[in-house]
């Protein structure tokens, strides 16, 4: 489904992502992990079109998408959530999600229907008509997912969706992702909360300083000495 | 199009342009400081200059004080004037979206402009001082002495402000607050007070400008309209917060104005200046010298 070859991104002299290559098959949940600053979010930004790669290629369902703007990538079926939630503050949750729904329809009524569906899916129906700026963090995270869902993605990139949540709240999101996966969405998850990654991922990709250092099942990767070395001195929360 | 490319005309245009440029730089120092430091976009900055000019005018015309002595009054006055306006109108909405600040300062500019109109009438006022007609020749070029003094004043002011920001404690506090208000607060800097100081400083430079300008310029309620826009053009060209860039930007625009006037007919020359501005906004909004100074 997704093929990344030689993906590189430089910011002046700093190489944030270095010749990264990996593949993703439909229906997988892949965890993208690594210490802070290893280039995970930058990778996501390049996949979703928010950033242009300095080099390399990204092929999604047979089409090259590297260099496309974010809104075009979204229309191809690749959506992302943001590490720091990015709601539209002064409109209701329903309207927030409608914006995403409008990616696939021009009708206000249809968009609202889709929006309410997605809100129900993430469990936000009671708050559908509340202004986004009045929602709690967990609700905003759910909203973030609902917005992305409304664009009807085949591949969803979740950027540290569990960050800042209590363990119970993490469970809620965990269940949600499983549920969505069962409905046929492929995921790439960037996470620090290990429990989240371990429970969900079929496969993990570990990067450090922008380069791939390990790949495999969660257990393999956790026991990989190179991975330990990368995290040395840093405590990944084994929540 | 009537092109007059004689050497004399061009040399005069360049000389005048440099002096005009120095003036433009002088009036823009305040804005580059305020915008660069506090990210406040003060659309009333032109009207502040107007206030400085009016003050200088009355001190000279009624008080018969030498214009350069009026500096002792105009600078402190504008300092506190700026602080007053800031306290009452701007600081309550510092955390609001930028557009609110722009609208607010637009409102302030309207108030100041029209207060001047109401109080002083629309008349253009200028005063002759013994410096006003003092000029000398360098070859075919005529140099007006008060303008030259203003140019020197501009250079001195730029260097002085730069030195102040670089070496004094309060100056460094201003720079720290500009770069990272949170970190600055954590390091014990009173950030709100620093903003106040920076705004006052930026306003004070306009008092200096008013005094330096009054021997050869005029004042009127609308003087801030065009000069205010020039300030923004210069600051964008020079880069916000960049004092050296401000000076260079001023020179560029000053030259654009005079050379443009020599080449293009009528008020079309001004379009040349705006064209430069628009081009910079589109392609190089960080300014000519993109390394930040303050």
């Amino acid at each position: 489904m997704l093929e990344v070859r030689g993906l590189t991104r430089r910011f002046g002299g700093l190489v944030a992502v270095n010749d990264l290559s990996f593949e993703l098959n439909e229906g997988e949940i892949v965890g993208l992990i690594g210490p802070n600053g290893s280039g995970k979010t930058t990778t996501f930004s390049m996949l979703s079109g928010a950033l242009r790669p300095s080099a390399g290629s990204i092929t999604f369902n047979g089409e090259r998408i590297d260099g496309l703007k974010a809104n075009r990538v979204c229309h191809k079926g690749l959506a992302r959530t943001f590490q720091v939630v990015q709601p539209f503050p002064d409109i209701t949750a329903c309207e927030n999600v409608m914006i995403g729904a409008f990616a696939n329809t021009g009708s206000g009524r249809a968009a609202e229907k889709v929006a309410r569906e997605k809100l129900a899916q993430v469990g936000l129906s009671p708050k559908a008509d509340t202004l986004a700026k009045e929602l709690t963090l967990l609700q905003l995270k759910r909203l973030e997912i609902a917005k992305a869902l409304a664009t009807d993605p085949k591949l969803l990139l979740l950027d540290e969706v569990a960050a800042g949540l209590t363990p119970t709240e993490v469970d809620v999101v965990l269940d949600l992702v499983n549920q969505l996966h069962a409905e046929g969405i492929t995921f790439i998850i960037v996470e620090h909360v290990m429990r989240f990654v371990m429970n969900l991922s079929h496969r993990c990709i570990v990067i450090d300083f922008g380069s791939l250092i390990a790949e495999g099942t969660p257990e393999e990767v956790l026991n990989n000495p190179a991975v330990h070395a990368a995290y040395l001195g840093e405590e990944a929360s084994i929540a | 199009m009537d092109l007059n490319f004689s050497g004399a005309v061009i040399s005069q245009a360049i000389a005048s342009g440099i002096m005009l440029g120095g003036l433009f730089a002088l009036i823009s120092i305040g804005l580059t400081l305020i915008w660069g430091v506090m990210k406040i976009i003060n659309f009333a900055q032109g009207e502040f200059l107007m206030v400085g000019l009016y003050l200088a005018y009355f001190l000279v015309a009624w008080g018969h004080i030498d214009p350069y002595i009026t500096i002792l009054v105009t600078v402190p006055f504008m300092f506190f004037f700026g602080i007053g306006i800031f306290r009452v109108t701007i600081s309550p909405i510092l955390k609001d979206p930028v557009m609110n600040q722009i609208m607010l300062t637009l409102g302030v500019s309207l108030i100041l402009q029209n207060l001047a109109l109401v109080i002083f009438s629309a008349d253009v006022m200028s005063v002759r001082t013994r410096y006003s007609t003092w000029n000398f020749d360098i070859g075919p070029v005529v140099i007006s002495v008060p303008q030259l003094i203003a140019l020197f004043g501009s250079v001195i002011c730029t260097v002085a402000v730069w030195y102040y920001l670089k070496t004094t404690d309060s100056g460094r506090a201003i720079r720290a607050s500009a770069q990272n208000p949170t970190a600055a607060t954590l390091m014990g800097i009173d950030v709100p007070r620093t903003y106040l100081l920076a705004f006052g400083l930026g306003s004070a430079t306009l008092g200096l400008a008013g005094s330096l300008m009054i021997p050869f310029y005029y004042t009127s309620p609308t003087v801030g309209l065009f000069l205010g826009l020039i300030m923004f053009i210069v600051v964008v060209l020079g880069g916000m917060g960049n004092l050296m860039g401000c000076f260079v930007g001023g020179l560029v625009i000053g030259l654009a104005e005079t050379v443009g006037a020599a080449v293009f007919p009528g008020s079309l020359a001004r379009v040349f200046t705006f064209a430069i501005f628009i081009i910079f906004l589109l392609f190089r909004p960080q300014g000519i010298l993109s390394r930040r100074q303050t």
């Binding site: 008509d129 409304a150 | 909405i93 557009m99 402009q113 309209l225 007919p265 008020s267 064209a275």
Partner: protein, 335 residues
């Protein structure tokens, strides 16, 4: 039925307004016409400024294009202003599309965007002042033709008044209709959070350009009405910064991003300023602008969402559950 309410409300207000000529004297009818013109222009600005969040300070540019196009074509070619109107629409659309494409492609935002619009409008003043065919600095005077529908002129105020009402009702209906449509939602998304909007598939550049075109064309139409009513257009009277700023004051004080906000703003401020100008005009020139400045400052300090915006927020707080989707006003800027 509920969805129809806003439309009915607009039509009812429009109908009621039509009764005004029966009760108002000529002088007050003149003020009412001014209110209609400015309300219309403020509504036009609201599309780009309120809904899309791009505060243009140079909408006078398009107003001027409209006014000058019609004035020139009428005087030079004896062309009926109705056709001139069509030309004005095409020209302003082209200008707005071109300017929008350049400006938004280079992602000018916030203050930089405001500055560029000011620069363009001011440049227009100087350019037009130097074109003799357009009357230079003196502007263009239209010949008075009495009651002549062909030339869009009326002998008394009533004709203009009804035209103004029709225009205002039209733009209100248009705005209301678009509020439920994808286009306006996308504009709001751009206003609230551009990056998030892009990530959700909104082509933000295209949306902004479209908003600029819509806003510009409507401003041009307002400009056409302006020149037909005043029978005169000059560089400063349309392109100047004062004009553009006035338009947005009405929109902001009334309530950004709301349907009725600009109307409320105009209804409140225009008569006030006219009265100020009439009573104090001789002794206090500029009193009305002083008033505007003060109102602007006070609004930003105490009521940044405008009158309608504040009202909507109050109503929202009274209902525990924020019932009606509110698509109004400023959200915080992302950076």
């Amino acid at each position: 039925m509920n969805a129809r309410m806003p439309y009915i409300g607009i039509l009812v207000v429009g109908a009621l307004m039509c009764l005004l000529p029966l009760v108002l004297s000529t002088y007050y009818l003149h003020i009412a016409i001014l209110v209609l013109i400015w309300a219309f222009l403020a509504c036009a600005w609201n599309i780009l400024g309120g809904y899309a969040g791009q505060h243009s300070l140079g909408n006078g540019l398009y107003m001027g294009i409209g006014a000058y196009t019609v004035a020139y074509l009428t005087n030079r070619f004896d062309l009926t202003p109705w056709l001139g109107l069509l030309v004005a629409i095409v020209l302003s659309a082209a200008a707005a599309a071109f300017i929008g494409w350049i400006v938004f492609r280079y992602a000018l935002k916030g203050a930089y965007f405001a500055l560029v619009t000011i620069a363009l409008a001011e440049a227009a003043v100087y350019v037009v002042s130097n074109i003799p065919a357009l009357g230079g600095a003196g502007g263009i005077q239209l010949e008075y033709r009495g009651n002549s529908l062909a030339y869009m002129q009326f002998a008394g105020k009533n004709g203009y008044f009804f035209m103004g009402v029709i225009m205002l009702v039209f733009i209100l209906l248009l705005t209301q209709w678009y509020r439920g449509k994808r286009f306006f939602y996308q504009l709001i998304a751009v206003r609230e959070n551009e990056d998030a909007a892009e990530a959700l598939g909104v082509d933000t550049v295209k949306a902004k350009i479209k908003a600029n075109v819509m806003s510009g064309v409507l401003c041009a139409v307002g400009g056409v009405f302006y020149v037909q009513y005043f029978l005169y257009v000059g560089p400063r009277s349309v392109f100047g910064e004062i004009v553009s700023v006035q338009i947005l004051i009405y929109a902001i004080v009334g309530g950004l991003g709301t349907t009725w906000g600009p109307v409320v703003g105009a209804v409140l401020l225009v008569p006030l300023s006219e009265i100020a100008r009439a009573q104090l005009g001789n002794s206090f020139q500029g009193a009305h602008l002083l008033l505007y400045g003060a109102v602007m400052v006070l609004t930003m300090l105490f009521m940044p969402f405008g009158i309608v915006g504040a009202f909507q927020r109050l109503r929202q707080r009274w209902q525990h559950r924020s019932a009606t989707p509110l698509v109004d006003s400023q959200g915080g800027e992302a950076s």
